[in-house]
Symmetry: C2
Subunit: 314 residues, 2 copies
C-alpha cells in the first residue's frame, strides 16, 4: 500500500456519501461509484449538512457510472446495503489495485466471507460505523450525530488477527478526516457487540412500528429488548466471544439517553426496500446453530421479519 492511499466508495447512500466526502474533504483521493445519482452528483456535487460538525460541499467529486471506468484504488469502501451485495463480483475486481483491500462497512455478521470469495481472504477488512445519518436526496446528506468507526481485519477461519499496519494506515486517513476510529483486534467480537444493539432495535422498530424511545418506555418491549441483547451475548459465546453482561446495561443506558430514533431497517421497510434480515439475523442465527446454540427469541424475530419483508415487497 502506498503512502497516499486512494479510495473507491461503492454505494452512495448516506453512509458511503458521508465517509467518502469527509475523506475527500480532508485531501484523500476518493472515487465514487454511483448508479442512479451519477448525473446529479456529477453536475451538483455532494453536500453534507451537519449541525454538529458544520456543513461542507464537494463541488467536483470524482464520480463514475461504471466500475470499468474507475481507477484501481487501495481501499474499496463497501457501503452498499448487504441486500445489494450480489453486485460486488462485477465491481470489486475492477476497482481494487494490486494489494488493495476491500473494506466491508456494513451491518450484520459474516458478510466478509462473501467478499473474500471475490478478492481473496487476505484482502478483506471490516468496519462498523456508528453513524446517525440520512440521505435527503441525490448528493445531499444530513449528518445527525456520531460517526465513529471500528476497524478490524477479516480472517478466513474467523480467528482474531490483531492490529495490522494497514489498519493503522487507514485509521490515520480517517482520523485526519475527523472520523474517530477504534482498532479492533477481533472483528468478529466487534460485529457481535454491534449486534447487541442492532438485533433488538432494528427488528422491533419494524415489527412494532415504533421509535427507540417508545420501545424503551413500555415495560414489555423494554424487557424484550434486554432479553434479545442477552441472547446476542449467547450467540457471541457460541463463537467463543465473551461479551460481559454489563455491556447490555451500557447499551440500555445509551439508548435511554438517545434522541428518539428510527433505525435504518425501519426506514428501508417504510420505503418498501428489502431489509437486511439475513445479514443482521440470519447469519448470526446460522453461526450460533453451527456451534449447536439456539437463539429462540432472535429466531422468532427473524421469522417475523422474513414474513413482513416478503409481504412488504410484493
Amino acid at each position: 500500500m502506498t503512502r497516499d492511499r486512494t479510495y473507491a466508495v461503492i454505494g452512495a447512500g448516506a453512509l458511503g456519501s458521508y465517509y467518502g466526502a469527509r475523506l475527500s474533504h480532508a485531501g484523500c483521493d476518493v472515487h465514487f461509484l454511483l448508479h442512479s445519482d451519477y448525473y446529479h452528483v456529477k453536475r451538483h456535487g455532494l453536500r453534507i449538512v451537519s449541525k454538529k460538525e458544520g456543513d461542507f460541499s464537494l463541488s467536483n467529486p470524482w464520480v463514475y457510472p461504471r466500475p470499468e471506468d474507475m481507477p484501481r484504488c487501495d481501499v474499496a469502501l463497501i457501503a452498499l446495503k448487504t441486500t445489494a451485495n450480489a453486485a460486488l463480483p462485477a465491481i470489486l475486481p475492477h476497482v481494487l489495485a494490486p494489494g488493495g483491500v476491500a473494506l466491508v462497512m456494513q451491518n450484520g455478521l459474516a458478510i466478509e466471507p462473501d467478499v473474500a470469495a471475490i478478492v481473496g481472504p487476505e484482502r478483506v477488512m471490516g468496519a462498523l460505523a456508528f453513524l446517525c445519518c440520512n440521505k435527503l436526496g441525490p448528493g445531499d446528506v444530513l449528518h445527525i450525530d456520531y460517526g465513529n468507526v471500528r476497524l478490524g481485519e477479516h480472517s478466513a477461519g474467523g480467528e482474531p488477527r490483531g492490529i495490522t499496519p494497514r489498519m493503522l494506515a487507514i485509521a490515520d486517513d480517517f482520523r485526519r478526516a475527523g472520523i474517530p476510529v477504534e482498532l479492533e483486534a477481533d472483528l468478529v467480537l466487534a460485529r457481535w457487540k454491534k449486534l447487541v444493539w442492532n438485533i433488538p432495535y432494528n427488528g422491533l422498530a419494524v415489527l412494532l412500528d415504533a421509535t427507540t424511545d417508545r420501545l424503551m418506555d413500555d415495560p414489555s418491549s423494554r424487557a424484550l429488548c434486554i432479553a434479545l441483547m442477552h441472547e446476542v451475548r449467547a450467540g457471541a459465546a457460541a463463537q467463543g466471544r465473551v461479551i460481559e453482561p454489563g455491556f447490555v446495561d451500557q447499551m440500555v443506558d445509551y439508548t435511554d439517553k438517545m434522541e428518539p430514533y428510527l433505525p435504518s431497517m425501519k426506514l428501508d421497510y417504510d420505503a418498501r426496500r428489502e431489509v437486511e434480515v439475513e445479514a443482521i439475523y440470519g447469519n448470526p442465527l446460522r453461526a450460533a446453530a453451527a456451534a449447536g446454540v439456539s437463539l429462540p427469541r432472535i429466531e422468532s424475530l427473524y421469522h417475523e421479519l422474513k414474513f413482513l419483508d416478503a409481504r412488504n415487497r410484493r
Copy 2:
C-alpha cells in the same frame, strides 16, 4: 343438582349467545345476563344464523340487566372475555344456586383459580369451545362452523379430577341441544392442548396482521407457528402433561385445511378492545416459570402483544 338443570349465561358475545340459545332452544331453562344489549334482546329476542345447522330464533328469552334480578341457577356459564372477569365477584354470588357450578367457558390457562376464589374450588368446572362464530349485532349471531365443547373439572391443586356425575349431566344437556361434547378427565391438559393452536395463531394474526392461511403459506411464519406449538408442549410438560409431537402435526394439518380465518384476538384488536394476552400468554408463561421452564418464543410474543395492546387502547 336437580334433574332439570337451569342455566345462567354471563356475557352475550357470540359464544354465550350461541350456546345459551342452543340450550334454550332444546328446552333448558336459560337466563341471560345482558349489559348493553339488554333492551334490544328483550324486545327482539335472539337470532342464530347458521348455514350448517339452520337458523333459529328465541323470540322471548329470559333476559336480565342486573345479576340481582336473576333466579339462582344450577350452572353459570361464564362467557365473558377473560379481560372482563373483574366483574365476576359482583355477579356469581347472585346467580348460583346452592350446589350450583360456575362453568368457565373461556380461552387460556389458569382462569379457574380466580373463579374458585369467588365460589369455592369445588364449584368450578372448565369448558373449551371449538366454535367459529361472530356476533353481527345485538342479539344477532352468525354461526360459521364447529361448536364442539370439551368439559372438565377444576381442582385446587391442578390435578386431574376424572369424569364426574355433574360432567355427565351437563354433557347430556349440551348433547340434547345438538352440541357435541367430549369429557376431559384432565382439564389442565385439555387447556394446554387448546393453547397449541391459540398461542401461535391468535398472537401472530395480531402481530403480523394476517389470516391463518397467510401464516401457513409463508415458510418463515409457518416455521414460527410450528416452533411455538412445540414450546406449548414444553409448557404442558412443565406441568406434567404430555402432548405428543404428532398433535402438532394434527394442528398444522387442521389449520392448512381450514378456511382463511381471523382469530378472535385479531377481531378484538382491530376493534380496539383489550386482547386476552394474560389468559392466553401470561398465565401459561407463569405456570411454566413456576416449574423452572422458560418459553422464550412465547415470552417474546407476549411482550410484543403487551406493547401493541397498550398502544392500541391509548
